[in-house]
Amino acid sequence: MRMNDRLAHLLVRLYPRPWRERYGAELEALLHTGRGDLRASANVVWSAFHEHVFPTPGLKIEQSQFQSWCVRAPWAMFGLAPLLLLAAAYFVACFILWSGWKLFLPGANTPFVPIDGLAIFYFQVGRLIYFSAPILIGWAIGLVAGRQRLKAVWPAVGWILIALVGGTAQVHASRTAVLGGVGHIRMGFALGPSVHGIPDGLFHGFVILSLTVLPYFIWRLQKTHFISS
């Protein structure tokens, strides 16, 4: 029993694009001519999954579209894109703060007051997004740099930018003087007060930088150890 064209095409689509571009047509032809039973289909599904997890060395570096973006426009991949992502995360966090203020604290002059019940959960979601965004984006930079086997220069630029923005970001809430007026949330960036001569913003930035760079450095050390052994 031969495999039908549609199923063969769908199965080949499961592979990563660089692999598919090189071997997809041949594998599809083989699926047409060979046995088209359940075992063959399962074998292709498993192999496609394996290719995603352990890509064939060489193929990814030469043909990946994503990798070419990292090489052609590293400033966009490691500078602009992380900043835009961080801005989007901060927007969502601020929106949660603003909407929570309107929903749960309509009479309060500021959303930064003791709360209880569902409001705690609502505001905590916003806080989680706000504080975790720089770290998650930093890890994503490290992951991309690691997978694409890039030098650490441009990823370092991205990490420093994210750490500076994340460390110095401040959220301000104010309500107009008119009774029942609309509350405003705005973001600013400042180094803040100094503790032992070190500005607060710089200290926070250093903590974010350390947390984001750490997994990448562990990966690099492991790789160096693996190659030398």
């Binding site: 041949e26 594998l27 075992r39 074998n43």
Partner: protein, 126 residues
């Protein structure tokens, strides 16, 4: 007496296993896809379907299409096999000089291993 019993018992188990290998064609399958592909191409250039049939003939292992192309991709990237011009939609491959050298080295190691293993097994069964 007890030791003797254990020894005889062990011998009979090993003998039974050897007999099972001899009579059950399913037990003796060997599956190292890259090595099987190299061994198949050592006989001449082939496309995927011909490789599957050839390998099944050599050792009774029928490689799945995904497994076969996983091995082909890795072998090609390592420079141990190379593609030939496609015939319609099928593309034949041939082994390179480097691939032949690797195959020879691996098979030599396997032969030594097989020889040593069989000698030990025979000593155990006598």
């Amino acid at each position: 007496m007890c030791d003797n019993y254990v020894m005889r018992s062990t011998r009979s188990v090993v003998a039974a296993k050897v007999a099972a290998v001899k009579y059950d064609p399913g037990t003796g399958h060997y599956s190292d896809p890259p090595l099987l592909v190299l061994a198949s191409l050592a006989k001449g250039p082939k496309h995927g379907h011909a490789m599957i049939e050839d390998i099944a003939g050599i050792c009774g292992t029928r490689l799945g299409p995904g497994t076969l192309y996983g091995a082909i991709a890795r072998l090609e990237q390592q420079g141990w096999i190379e593609p030939l011009p496609p015939e319609e939609r099928r593309r034949p491959y041939r082994i390179t000089a480097e691939g032949a050298r690797v195959l020879r080295a691996k098979l030599t190691t396997l032969r030594q291993f097989t020889k040593a293993g069989l000698q030990r097994l025979e000593a155990l069964c006598v």
